[in-house]
């Protein structure tokens, strides 16, 4: 598989994104301002972080539906560790992130050790983790965090939101890992043909375990940022996140069957969706209309990509 072939969908998507940005900018003069764009970056950071890990998951041919529930569980644990157990906040954050990462590891363990298809395993943990969040919190919110904690979700470094830096660093790291390292090549190989990958000496199970653990870690990080941004903890946080994340990733050209996909594509997919949500709202389109447009764009973009593939004899 050559780089050109890999990038084909991404090229189409990039063109589409630029057209969308241009159209949206012409529809509202408030859209293409640094302030608005940075703010949108802030709003998409949580979905973005999870989407990066989800790209790896989907490239292996798997899926993780439990990310939203891990986010909710981590948020609740953060609050409970801090408020109910009286731990210092940094320790509570660290411990909650470890728990969230562990939740991801459990997904990977069930999938690799018991050979459960990822969709089923994470469908079960989707209910389980959300249920734990509800049970542990008894549906109570935790509030009253100290001011410094809000930096992660609301602060800025050099005029750019903190979480956008974090997302940027995560994009670079994940892009390098997926595109340039043996781990990335193993990820593609598993998605293309798991049996063949196993026979060619790739440690399929440990690779997958790492990837699902990373998905848990990213969801946990997103939870910390989310709690910091909205200054409170609730057990229903992140409900439905999985669909937003998966939409971004597949719009980015990652094949749901595995073996194909790039971080650049995912980033473009995320940017396109966020730009549509924001730009359409600014030009007076209501929320329900925006949902319809995003559905059409999703089908349309993949359709164009597929037709393009076929014309090239793919």
């Amino acid at each position: 598989m050559t780089a050109a072939r890999l990038l084909r969908h991404e090229t189409i998507l990039a063109v589409l994104t630029i057209i969308a940005l241009a159209v949206l900018a012409s529809m509202s003069d408030k859209f293409f301002t640094p302030e608005n764009l940075l703010n949108q970056g802030r709003l998409m950071a949580e979905v973005g972080l999870v989407a990066l890990a989800m790209t790896f998951v989907i490239v292996t041919g798997g899926i993780d539906l439990s990310v939203g529930s891990i986010l909710g569980l981590t948020a609740i644990l953060l609050g409970v560790f801090w408020k109910n157990l009286g731990l210092p906040l940094p320790a509570a954050i660290l411990l909650a992130v470890i728990c969230g990462t562990f939740a991801g590891w459990i997904n990977g363990f069930i999938i690799t050790r018991f050979n459960v298809p990822p969709l089923i395993a994470t469908l079960a943990t989707l209910a389980l983790y959300r249920g734990l969040a509800e049970g542990i919190s008894e549906a109570r919110s935790v509030r009253g965090y100290p001011e410094w904690f809000f930096f992660f979700g609301q602060g800025e470094i050099l005029g750019v939101p903190f979480q956008l830096w974090l997302l940027g660093i995560a994009v670079v790291i994940s892009g390098v890992i997926l595109g340039l390292t043996p781990f990335g090549r193993a990820t593609y190989a598993i998605g293309a043909n798991e049996t063949a990958a196993r026979f060619s000496g790739i440690r399929v199970n440990s690779t997958k375990l790492w990837i699902y653990t990373a998905a848990g870690f990213c969801s946990a990080l997103a939870a910390v940022i989310f709690v910091s941004r909205v200054t409170t903890t609730r057990s229903d946080m992140g409900t439905g996140l999985e669909l937003d994340v998966i939409t971004g990733v597949v719009l980015g050209g990652t094949s749901i069957f595995g073996g194909r996909g790039t971080i650049i594509g995912t980033v473009l997919g995320l940017v396109l969706i966020q730009a549509l949500k924001n730009g359409l709202a600014l030009s007076g389109v209501k929320g329900d209309g925006t949902i319809v447009v995003i559905g059409l764009v999703l089908i349309g973009a993949i359709l164009v990509g597929a037709l393009f593939d076929r014309n090239r004899g793919g």
Binding site: K30, E134, R140, R229, T231, R234, M237, D288
Partner: protein, 368 residues
């Protein structure tokens, strides 16, 4: 498999059975409660200084045309359609307001925040909101105030300093008193009652349940709370949950409280389909149109609600007064068009009135 399932069922059954025995009504929050007195004596209103926020460098909007966006908890349910209609009515009556309603399709804190954020960027003059979470929505509302936008809440409050005024449909303890008194009257003061609510994380419902528990303990100690079940804002789920309660408790169940405008008609339907009209009372918050069939058949005797159209109307009127500068911190009342003077309570809240109890005689007069 069987062993696992059995172990899980039995283990959790025992665990929760013991945990339940000691706890208060499930679904309430842990904020302090303030039950009203058992008779009709009104609570003494303690004067409180203005505790709302103030927009930074708001331009002079007195008498000028303003654009206003209304962001309810979610769109597409009867209740918020009604508030939205009230807002549109008030805007039409005022003539100098351009108002529209937009919001998430499910009650989701994150999406609601994003909607408000986008409207701040688009440069509206005023924001009306009904918060999905009082604290989570605060940062984005404060941002709106910083941009000089007038912010008024209705239905579900935020922390006070994140908005200027909040139009309160009825105080929590007032609703709780109406509901529990109605139920006590219907079941003869004693018997088992259960609750069907939306989710335990919905702040208004959690507050009402906590106040109901406190008021029932104080004034109707023989009402025995059995159980609270969650049913989202989903008709069929509410129906199934209410039916399960009826089947589970049999004759021990004397009444069901519906905590949302979805749960109440669905509970009434469950009672009707189980042929328990007359032996199980349904009391709850609901809109009159959805309840008419049950009230007219006599299956439901009383429905508690404020008029959501009036609530939206009042919120719009208050926002206009704030923009005009006629409603200032420290005021004790505000003129709200056809609703007349509304009273200021709790520092920065405007009270719509006492909750209204619909019954067979008057429900036909309402259409929302």
């Amino acid at each position: 498999m069987k062993k696992l399932t059995l172990a899980a069922i039995v283990g959790f059954g025992l665990m929760s059975g013991s945990a339940l025995a000691a706890s208060a009504w499930t679904g309430g929050d842990d904020q302090p409660t303030n039950p009203l007195s058992c008779d009709a004596t009104p609570a003494a209103a303690a004067a409180k200084p203005y505790d709302g926020g103030v927009p930074t460098n708001a331009p002079d909007r007195n008498g000028k045309k303003i654009t206003v966006v209304d962001v309810p908890k979610l769109i597409g349910i009867g209740y918020f359609n009604a508030t939205s209609k009230g807002i549109a009515d008030a805007a039409a009556e005022l003539g100098n307001v351009d108002a529209k309603t937009d919001g998430p399709t499910k009650a989701n804190i994150d999406e609601q925040i994003t909607f408000i954020d986008n409207y701040i960027t688009s440069g509206v003059d005023g924001i009306l909101f009904a918060a999905n979470d009082p604290v989570a929505i605060a940062p984005v509302l404060k941002k709106a105030l910083e941009k000089g936008i007038n912010v008024v809440g209705y239905d579900a409050n935020s922390t006070p300093d994140a908005r200027q005024w909040f139009v309160n449909q009825a105080e929590f303890n007032g609703i709780a008193k109406s509901l529990v008194d109605s139920m006590a009257a219907e079941v003869g003061g004693e018997g088992g009652v259960a609750i069907v609510t939306s989710t335990f994380t919905t702040p208004n419902q959690a507050r009402w349940i906590a106040e109901m528990a406190a008021y029932a303990e104080k004034c109707h100690p023989k009402l025995k709370w059995l159980e609270t079940v969650e049913a989202q804002e989903d008709n069929n789920l509410s129906f199934n949950q209410a039916t399960t309660l009826i089947n589970k408790y049999g004759d021990d169940l004397k009444g069901i409280f519906g905590m949302t405008s979805v749960a109440t008609p669905a509970s009434a339907e469950a009672v009707t389909q189980a042929n328990k009209c007359g032996s199980i009372a349904v009391v709850g918050l609901a809109t009159p149109n959805a309840m008419k069939p049950y009230v007219e058949k006599g299956c439901v005797k009383s429905v508690v609600l404020w008029n959501p159209v009036d609530l939206g109307y009042a919120a719009m009127m208050v926002l206009r007064s704030v923009a005009d500068g006629t409603l200032q911190p420290g005021a004790t009342s505000v003129k709200a068009g056809k609703l007349g003077d509304l009273q200021v309570i709790n520092g920065s809240e405007i009270l719509l009135g006492a909750p209204y109890v619909f019954n067979k005689d008057n429900i036909g007069q309402f259409d929302f």
